[in-house]
């Protein structure tokens, strides 16, 4: 039960992944009780799916010429300059402390022979700066924070509400005086809806992969919670920036990631030359195979950068219909390599493939396809700029250069400032993947785990400082909370009243609507976008929203009704999808993961800006998407001057294809395609 004593301020954290748990531990440690809400037992949050590792400058890399500053520079460059620079500098500076703390919490980081933390190479850097725990780093980091949270729970400092779904923020006041004073949530077992008082609310609810149907995300990653905040007035930023990973294992239920190292170890991507060739891969002779990456990019072959590989695979399947078996899949072939070699180099990921796809990749080529993986965009957040404010931005930072600034806390973002990672609504914070703050237009591998934990640890004290001098919400009139509960009850009731036979009219079946939304969004709003196609998407989403207004539930139970929860999130996903499509349409340039065939170049003059989408209730006048008021804000580029994003590519592959990205090749494979840089041991 929420404690409403006058002297007792408390914080609500929504979401129990890395960001939510790091915030919980930090805030509870500072002496403020935390009510932690999660749709699933927190140990089952989506953070468990992260495999590769977590980036931070370390002593070995430092002595080779690396620095926290370079980590910052790489992250900004990787994100094509769309991230505000202050918070990213602070994240790079703070990263080693994150690793140390998680190390103390007992994370089994891989070790060198001497017993130090081992490191691996990752995309976007020539230095080994990625710490890892086997092939399940996210899982191991989450468990460590889960254990510390359990410890505080046992001490009575944390109250967990697991299997509770966030329905809405409770916002008091108007205009600039708006303040978030709690949340409405529903127990997914009993279906009881309740309001909870909170002096501040931290949203840590992750990404929205399910908007795209099949993604690498968990089934809970609908983005529903962020959408509900958006509909309550919180700004949503850079929603058009969606990361699509080139190699995933397509599945009937979801797509599972296949690491790039398969290509690094010699994997070849191909499809049969004959369209619709249904023969077993082993029966197709060498000359009947189309190694399209090797053919189009003779220099880089299968090791072309991530975004090129993704776009080419997409083009072959979706535009040309050349996918294996007529489906959206291509072969990733390792069968020409000796078994022992594969077992030694790639054993773990090949086991995963075998388990899920049912085929042995040592015998049969893997079938892979790009899949939506991460949402760089998210809830808009603010921050208090740090003390490093050079008169002119720094230029290109090269390995071994002296970092222009030390790593003292507060250089990029003021530690403890109450507005760090606060949304445009006072008291409503957004931490982790659900905010837009750190990754710009593309996220570098192994930076996600870092940004999530960094937010929790670094910005947790900001929340404590914010609530310190405010009137406690326990003094607010109970009617504020009763009204909020009633409003959500009414919404649920409306959906429940629509219960009926869903099988007779598929147009109003929520599963069917969700499926069509996923297909549409994946086709139009991921790898290659065009204005023409996106305009059609706006029409399609409008059609789906109209059908959704007549949606019918197939379950009337007032107990553990998952259909109600799912259907509610479908409505929220449709609104998010519409905003993503609209901002994609409006960004008439190509930057990072956002690639517009009709505007293939980066346009700093017009679009070196944060996209902000604001939902205007009741703005609908019949025109599609008019409720999404979109405007642009300047990006903080005061620390590093934007430069062309080439990754040192000197020998551009000869191709007249329009979709050769003009601006950039950020890559995992880049590092291996090049001779080891100055810093490589």
């Amino acid at each position: 039960m929420a404690d409403n004593r006058a002297d007792s301020r408390r914080v609500i954290v929504v979401g129990g992944g890395l960001a939510g748990l790091a915030a919980t531990v930090r805030i509870a440690e500072a002496g403020t009780p935390v009510d932690l809400f999660s749709m699933v037992p927190v140990k089952r949050s989506h953070s468990v799916c992260a495999q590769g590792g977590i980036n931070a400058c370390n002593e070995v890399a430092r002595q080779q010429g690396y620095s926290e500053y370079q980590h910052f520079d790489e992250t900004i460059y990787g994100g094509d300059y769309l991230a505000d620079q202050g918070p990213v500098l602070e994240m790079g500076n703070f990263a080693p402390k994150v690793i140390d703390l998680l190390d103390r919490m007992g994370v089994p980081f891989n070790r060198t022979a001497e017993g130090y933390r081992d490191l691996r190479l990752f995309g976007g850097s020539l230095f080994k700066r990625t710490h890892f725990a086997g092939a399940s780093t996210g899982q191991q980091l989450l468990y460590a924070l889960d254990e510390q949270t359990r410890r505080y729970e046992a001490e009575g400092r944390v109250n967990k509400y697991e299997f509770w779904e966030f329905l809405a923020p409770i916002i008091e006041g108007e205009g600039d005086d708006r303040r978030c004073v709690g949340i409405v949530a529903q127990d997914l077992r009993t279906m009881q809806t309740r309001s909870f008082r909170g002096d501040a609310v931290v949203m840590a609810t992750g990404g929205n992969g399910l908007v795209f149907g099949q993604s690498t995300n968990s089934v809970i990653c609908t983005g529903g919670a962020a959408s509900r905040c958006y509909q309550a007035g919180a700004w949503y930023a850079n929603g058009e920036m969606v990361q699509v990973h080139p190699t995933a294992i397509p599945g009937a239920d979801k797509c599972r990631l296949m690491s790039e190292s398969a290509r690094g170890e010699g994997g070849r991507v191909w499809v049969p030359r004959k369209k619709g060739d249904s023969r077993d891969a082993r029966q197709i002779a060498e000359e009947e195979r189309w190694y399209f990456l090797e053919e189009k990019y003779p220099d880089y072959g299968n090791l072309v950068p991530r975004d090129i590989a993704t776009r080419e695979i997409f083009d072959v399947c979706v535009n040309q219909g050349m996918g294996v078996g007529g489906e959206n899949q291509v072969y990733l072939d390792l069968t020409h390599k000796p078994r022992e070699y594969l077992d030694e180099k790639l054993g773990a990921i090949l086991e995963i493939y075998t388990k899920f796809a049912g085929d042995d990749p040592r015998e049969l080529p893997m079938k892979i396809f790009p899949a939506v993986h991460y949402s760089m965009g998210g809830m808009w957040t603010q921050y208090e700029k740090g003390t490093y404010q050079p008169e002119t931005p720094h230029g290109d930072h090269k390995p071994g250069m002296r970092a222009p600034i030390d790593t003292e806390p507060g250089r990029g973002m003021m530690i403890g400032a109450p507005n760090n990672m606060m949304t445009n609504i006072s008291g409503l914070y957004a931490f982790g993947e659900v905010n837009f703050a750190y990754h710009g237009a593309t996220r570098l591998g192994a930076n996600a785990l870092l940004s999530c934990i960094f937010d929790g640890l670094f910005c947790g004290p900001s929340v404590c400082n914010y609530i310190k001098n405010l009137k406690p919400v326990s003094e607010l009139d109970a009617s504020v909370y009763e009204r909020a509960t009633d409003a959500e009850d009414a919404k649920s009731q409306k959906l429940m009243d629509s219960s009926g036979d869903t099988t007779s009219d598929p147009a109003t079946n929520p599963y069917k609507i969700a499926q069509e939304m996923g297909v549409e969004m994946t086709a139009a709003c991921t790898v290659v976008k065009t204005g023409e196609r996106l305009a059609k998407t706006m029409d399609k989403i409008a059609e789906l929203r109209e059908r959704y207004s007549r949606v019918r539930l197939g379950d009337t139970a007032m107990w553990s009704n998952q259909t109600l929860s799912f259907t509610r999130s479908v409505g929220d996903m449709l609104i998010m999808a519409e905003s993503i499509a609209k901002t994609s349409l409006m960004r008439e340039e190509s930057r990072g993961s956002h690639y517009r065939l009709d505007f293939p170049d980066r346009n700093d003059e017009r679009f070196l800006k944060t996209t902000v989408s604001e939902y205007q209730v009741g703005a609908s006048n019949g025109e599609h998407g008019v409720e999404h008021h979109v405007f642009y804000r300047d990006v903080d580029t005061s620390l590093v001057t934007p430069r062309a994003r080439t990754y040192g590519k000197t020998d551009a592959p000869k191709t007249n294809a329009n979709n050769t990205p003009a601006q950039g090749e950020r890559t995992l494979s880049d590092a291996s395609a090049k001779p080891a840089g100055a810093g490589q041991a």
Partner: protein, 281 residues
């Protein structure tokens, strides 16, 4: 105790994959229950199977069109799931009589022929919430019993953790892969359904918790709580309640050496008790 009559072994699974025909129709029998205290019933559904489908995708098809084999409309089946990659543990259920994750359960391996029947039941050692969804709160509660955490001083910047030999890291990593799915508890003859929370602290703590106690006792800082963990494993519900059926290790999806952990903690508890006796505590 582990009955594997209808569960194909690895060789059979491979053979089944070879002969599985896409487009076939199988029957999925599900033990359903509308809520705590409500009666259970079996419902059967015809599901058309495409290549690569797992139990989750069969359940998704049923949810989109919930009609039984008799042509009766029914409610969508309720089940728990998360990552669908066998790292979160959520989708654990009893399939053809044996507990496992449903995401990695491929229909080509389990029901390769037209007309094959697959049975799905909720785990029996935890209270059913609805249909295949159970409440595993007790499992997490038992992690508190053994203080499964490292007692750090706080989150302030105090430098790195202790250095560690790679062999030790490898041992801890293996134990730390436990995803709290509960397979070991479902298969254990000593761990039984207990809805009365006041009895949770005196009933068998379970293989997973014993193994976690070992994990933290092996960590340089974690071992500061070693004695308290061992105390929690003495007496009723502790390590001596293990009946040595060894089912846990057979059903663990992550191949965690659970029986090894139980043996190690059994020895540690014995030594601890003897030491305590001589110290007169």
């Amino acid at each position: 105790m582990v009955v594997d009559v209808n569960v194909p072994d690895e060789q059979q699974r491979r053979a089944n994959r070879e002969k599985a025909s896409p487009g076939r129709t199988i029957t999925v029998k599900i033990l359903r229950c509308d809520g705590p205290g409500k009666p259970t019933r079996w419902e059967a559904f015809k599901v058309q199977v495409d290549r690569g489908m797992n139990v989750i995708s069969a359940l998704q098809r049923i949810a989109a069109n919930p009609v039984t084999v008799d042509g009766d409309g029914t409610t969508p089946v309720v089940w728990d799931s998360g990552c669908l990659e066998e790292v979160c543990g959520a989708c654990t259920m009893v399939i053809n009589g044996r507990v496992r994750q449903s995401c990695t359960c491929l229909l080509d391996e389990y029901a390769p022929s037209d007309g094959d029947v697959l049975t799905l039941e909720p785990m029996s050692k935890f209270p059913v919430i609805r249909d295949l969804w159970v409440d595993r709160e007790r499992l997490f509660h038992n992690l508190k019993r053994v203080k499964a955490w490292v007692p750090i001083d706080g989150t302030y910047n105090l430098g790195a953790g202790p250095q560690e030999a790679p062999e030790s890291q490898q041992t801890r990593y293996k134990l730390s892969e436990c995803m709290s799915c509960g397979c070991c508890l479902e298969a254990c003859p000593q761990f039984n359904l207990e809805e009365d929370q006041s009895k949770w602290d005196s009933t068998f703590v379970g293989a997973h918790a014993i193994s976690q106690a070992r994990l933290f006792n092996e960590h340089e800082t974690g071992k500061r709580l070693k004695d308290e963990r061992l105390e929690s494993l003495i007496g009723a519900g502790g390590v001596s309640d293990c009946g040595n059926a060894q089912n846990c290790v057979k059903v663990c999806p992550k191949h965690i050496p659970l029986t090894e952990s139980i043996a190690a903690m059994g020895r540690a508890v014995t030594i601890h008790s003897v030491t305590r006796f001589f110290k007169g505590k």
